[in-house]
Symmetry: none
Subunit: 221 residues, 4 copies
């Protein structure tokens, strides 16, 4: 009874930065950084313009905070998870892509990719950060998975370094689409993420798997 329950003001203060970042992410993704007014961000977060500047010193700072917050320490957890996986590498890859879809692709967080690709050249410093925090660890994670397949005799991959893009490309494409053209187009044309992931997984896996007793028919049959 005498316990001091955190009251309105206090509770809100704690929540402010997060609410602002969420609002900023969605608006930056929607309209781009330059076309988003800080006042809109503040309004969507339910505060006044002045309050935003209490937490972030400038619009640029806000952008940086959005990127850091959304990306920070994404991969530690996943690395572990995949390290412990015990099934076939094909299943690992399927599982990975589906997990990614559920945890990232289908959520707000996926917008950050569109944001980075759209604004990279205006924020080279952030582009470098993204390269180091997302692209490199992501690429390495995928590379380790593919390597596992090769090591276990499951996969046959001539150019391992570039094969990772077979996994990355659909993820990028799906995210970019969702947050741009896909959002402007009648529902009939919209891409179904789950079906997309399923279809790509199967083609991709068939493309990677070792085929007992035969070489690729390729080239000039």
């Amino acid at each position: 009874m005498s316990e001091v329950i955190p009251i309105k003001r206090e509770r809100r203060k704690q929540a402010r930065p997060g609410e602002l970042l969420e609002a900023a992410l969605s608006l930056f993704v929607e309209k781009g950084f330059a076309s988003t007014r800080v006042e809109e961000v503040a309004a969507r977060a339910g505060v006044s313009k002045g309050t935003l500047f209490l937490y972030y010193a400038s619009k640029d700072d806000l952008f940086k905070a959005v990127v850091h917050e959304t990306l920070a320490g994404r991969f530690a957890e996943w690395n572990e998870e995949f390290e412990r996986f015990e099934g076939s590498t094909a299943d690992l890859l399927r599982y990975g892509l589906n997990s990614w879809w559920e945890r990232v692709g289908a959520t707000q967080a996926s917008g950050i990719t569109k944001l980075m690709f759209s604004e990279a050249r205006n924020f080279p410093e952030l582009a470098a950060y993204y390269q180091n925090q997302v692209i490199l660890p992501g690429t390495q994670l995928i590379r380790r998975i593919l390597q596992r397949g090769v090591d276990r005799g499951e996969f046959d991959i001539p150019d391992l370094d570039y094969a990772v893009f077979s996994v990355i490309a659909p993820m990028i494409h799906l995210q970019m689409n969702q947050h741009s053209i896909g959002a402007c187009v009648p529902a009939a044309f919209a891409i179904d993420g789950q079906r997309y992931i399923a279809a790509q997984s199967e083609i991709l896996l068939k493309g990677l798997l070792q085929r007992p007793g035969q070489a690729l028919a390729g080239g000039h049959a």
Copy 2:
């Protein structure tokens, strides 16, 4: 003697709109629509700000013109070319991807993709245009190629509608990368387009091709 000058001037005058569009495309791709100043566009095209407005009524109009100009009638020619192709569908696909790389991917024109994905939500009207002029015809072109493979017993494609993305995704990814992160990152990390196309082609084709006498090992071998 008095002939040379008028010719030069005339040619210049004729060239203006094109020079402006070219300048605009590269700047829009570099910095985004909102962060590009019309004065920069004019300067890069070698004319004054006022002159730009002689040709395009507004910055938005300029953007639309850039998109229309860059996209107009892209596919008619290709459709025919592919219709006449006589080799295997695998080769057709390889040829298509390489052609695309040479004629689009490796050129300025590839920037339009980044532009469209970045700005779609601010120009829904253009997004629709892009959908109709590029995405639909492009998708259909690819779909026809895949269908050809299926019809001829070369390919085995469970979900044809979504299989087209296996071809599209790498093209999108490559273009987006080139004009964003890829442009901000040390050369060592840069992606080699030709190698990228080659690697993806082979994985993709292996993933699509009919495999005599066996089903996909899938799931839980």
Copy 3:
């Protein structure tokens, strides 16, 4: 044990307004009224912004309080002191200037002059107050001293009303300099107040004193 704290607090509380005025005076003098943020004033006084507004209803009010506090009842004491002086009027003037230097010129209080001259036109009401509380009484005090010299046959002053400025001008100049250019300039260029007062006193007195048996050589020799 429980006595010490309340005393401290009490003393603090009593001291607040004074600490705030002191902080405000020095900051206003340093940076001007408009460029000084109330938050800085509060910080320098060791309280929060909100607390300042507990004591002064607005920034303007704070400014007025600074001026009133610093100027209030400056002259009553001096008038008496000078009234009782018994030596020569030259000595009285010397004594007056040196006293002023010690009690005002060399102290924080001198800043108020810079402040008033800088801000007068934005605070005409305060300018009037300053005119009445400082300029008029100051002028009259000096005028009485000069009159004393004339009455006692020590001084020869053709235009008594404007002669007072001979005394005032160096004081103003010295104060203005101290709190502006003088504060921005290498020590080598700085003006030594005491030497300044001494030098001006002597020239001034020589300029005022009766010269037995001869007229000014001046003008049209």
Copy 4:
């Protein structure tokens, strides 16, 4: 008749910077730098806000330009003029002070002094410039005049370095007054510049002149 007379637009363009500086000087003097809005300056110069920024990149830049413009090369001319003077040094000093009053003290230009003293600490870079362009040359000019008087046996000046302030102080005081308190006070209290200069000149000269056959009565008669 066929002569191309500079037309409205062109003529105005040439005049712009000067008109802006004039407007800025008077407003800065009136209200201080911080309290003057650039829009007011533009309005007083008869142009829009945007136009001001066409000529001066920032409000700070405008301020610097005002100072430079008003002060630049003030002293070259005067130095020469005084070098050629042939009368008594007393007359030279009288002439100098009256010239100064007519050419500077009574004009808009005098406001710059108030401006510099008020804003020096916010623009240390300009304070240094003022020190070098105005205070130093001004001091030296006056010192040379006083030295001339000493050299010719006209003046008796114990502390020459600080004696210059006897000349400077009234000029500063007069200017400061004019542009601050003096502008806020009923006409009855206003200082008459010419009378001020006259009164100070005579007291000052009497204070500087050699007195044949007697020392200063001073100190302790």
